[in-house]
């Protein structure tokens, strides 16, 4: 979505597909949501009533995970194989990231004793969320769509055509962010249980030594708080990732709305004068948002894990 033109092209294809009836809302939602589970990329049997078929967002998760695995592990292996521990090339930013997350996110929250236990989780959360966010800014499928349209000319139901359905940003899907929040939620319980024992962790949820009527009020509040945290993580990430993309697509759809209302020339004029510059600016802003949201998710996970370890009310 970095390049407005590709989107304009793709929107154009869809606009052509629905002929005169261009529906901005439907087109936008189609471009940010997952591909429909009824038409999955890979059909898998249902298990316990759950459809495990591979949709676009599952594929994106796998691509991102594979990318992260290959890049991180090769970089780290190459670094560790050296005689002298001198970081070179991509190891430099990776080391800066590792030390930043260890020293500025993990250490102040979970403390010295647990820093090595929780840093790997926080690092994985950050890298995975960041890459999953960032891949949405790269128009890989838009380019693929163009190549297909002008060069390959595959059929209407080809695998490539199916790949084009749905948004690229898996972290814009709240099913994905809920799962990531679930990881944090479990990590909080594991951290508390490992630091204080399973029973003590649950007792720690409320401050002790208060008059009993207060507990009637406090226990439900704390339980709600426990659930609200992952819920907030889920919604914050998904909404932020969806919001930017919707804004870009809405601005780009001006081109087609104006073209429909005032003719082709006006539409192109609006595109050149307003839509593409604005969409480019928002894409630039999205680069920051992508980084900040990955950071916020990681930082809040560290804070919540730290709160389970260092209980103070």
């Amino acid at each position: 979505m970095m390049l407005g033109q590709e989107h304009a092209q793709e929107l154009g294809e869809h606009a052509a597909g629905v002929a005169e009836k261009f529906n901005a809302g439907e087109t936008i939602i189609h471009h940010v949501s997952n591909s429909p589970i009824s038409e999955p990329l890979i059909h898998l049997p249902k298990l316990a009533g759950i459809d495990f078929s591979v949709t676009k967002h599952v594929l994106m998760l796998w691509l991102v995970a594979a990318f992260v695995l290959v890049v991180v592990i090769t970089t780290v292996r190459r670094y560790l194989k050296q005689d002298k521990p001198i970081p070179t090339g991509f190891m430099n930013p990776l080391e800066a990231l590792v030390e930043f997350i260890r020293d500025s996110i993990a250490l102040p929250n979970v403390g010295k004793k647990w820093v090595n236990t929780w840093t790997p989780l926080l690092l994985t959360l950050f890298v995975f969320i960041f890459c999953a966010n960032a891949v949405g800014l790269v128009p890989i499928f838009d380019v693929l769509g163009l190549v297909d349209h002008f060069v390959l000319h595959t059929g209407d139901h080809s695998f490539i055509k199916q790949l084009l359905h749905g948004g690229t940003t898996a972290t814009a899907n709240y099913n994905v962010t809920a799962a990531l929040a679930m990881i944090t939620f479990s990590a909080i319980i594991v951290a508390g249980s490992r630091a204080h024992g399973v029973v003590q962790h649950w007792i720690n949820l409320v401050p002790h030594g208060l008059a009993w009527p207060i507990y009637i009020l406090l226990i439900p509040i704390e339980l709600m708080g426990m659930l609200v945290r992952p819920f907030a993580l889920t919604m914050r990430l998904a909404a932020n990732m969806t919001g930017g993309h919707i804004a870009i697509l809405a601005i780009l759809s001006f081109v087609f709305l104006f073209a429909k209302m005032f003719g082709h020339a006006v539409g192109v004029g609006v595109g050149v004068a307003a839509s593409v510059p604005l969409a480019t600016a928002i894409s630039a802003l999205e680069i920051i948002v992508v980084l900040v949201q990955a950071y916020v998710f990681t930082l809040l996970s560290a804070v919540f894990i730290g709160m389970a370890i260092h209980v103070h009310h």
Partner: protein, 168 residues
């Protein structure tokens, strides 16, 4: 609600958890843990190296001080040594001079004595030679051999005379 933005998808939910856990396990095992260990080891290595450098610097400083002190001490010792040897040399020279002087005096005295001795002996010889000569001359003059008794009387007279002249 058929809006795909808010469509619950438990399959995707579970796939996300599975994908993330696989990623976490592999990264933690093959990247994060060895890397964190390596970073810590390197950090300790750097700290150790800095400590070592500081210790070496302190040691160097100490050695330099020690060397300077040794130098000072050596210089002082050398000075003492030089003064002492100069005094020794002076004393020795004086001694040698004294001894040489004494030796020279001894040699002179010996020589004088020798000369006196030799002179006495020479005089003695001359004297006996002179006696023999005078006897021979006298006997030639008187043309006869004087007796032994005469001879001895004459010698004694002569000697007496000689003694007499010497005593004078």
């Amino acid at each position: 609600m058929d809006n795909p933005l808010v469509q619950p998808d438990p399959g995707l939910f579970i796939w996300t958890i599975v994908t993330f856990l696989v990623l976490l396990t592999l990264l933690a095992k093959f990247a994060w843990k060895p890397l964190l260990e390596a970073l810590e080891t390197r950090q300790q290595g750097i700290r150790q190296a800095l400590d070592d450098a500081q210790a070496a610097k302190q040691e160097l400083q100490r050695l330099e001080q020690e060397a300077a002190q040794m130098m000072r001490k050596a210089r002082a010792e050398a000075e003492v040594l030089i003064t002492q040897s100069r005094a020794d040399a002076d004393r020795l020279r004086e001694e040698i001079r004294q001894k040489a002087k004494a030796d020279a005096e001894g040699i002179m005295r010996n020589a004088e004595r020798q000369i006196q001795l030799e002179t006495g002996r020479a005089l003695q010889q001359i004297r006996s030679e002179a006696v023999d000569l005078s006897v021979m001359i006298a006997s030639k003059i008187i043309q006869r051999n004087i007796t032994k008794e005469d001879n001895e009387r004459l010698i004694a007279d002569a000697l007496k005379q000689v003694e007499g002249t010497r005593a004078n």
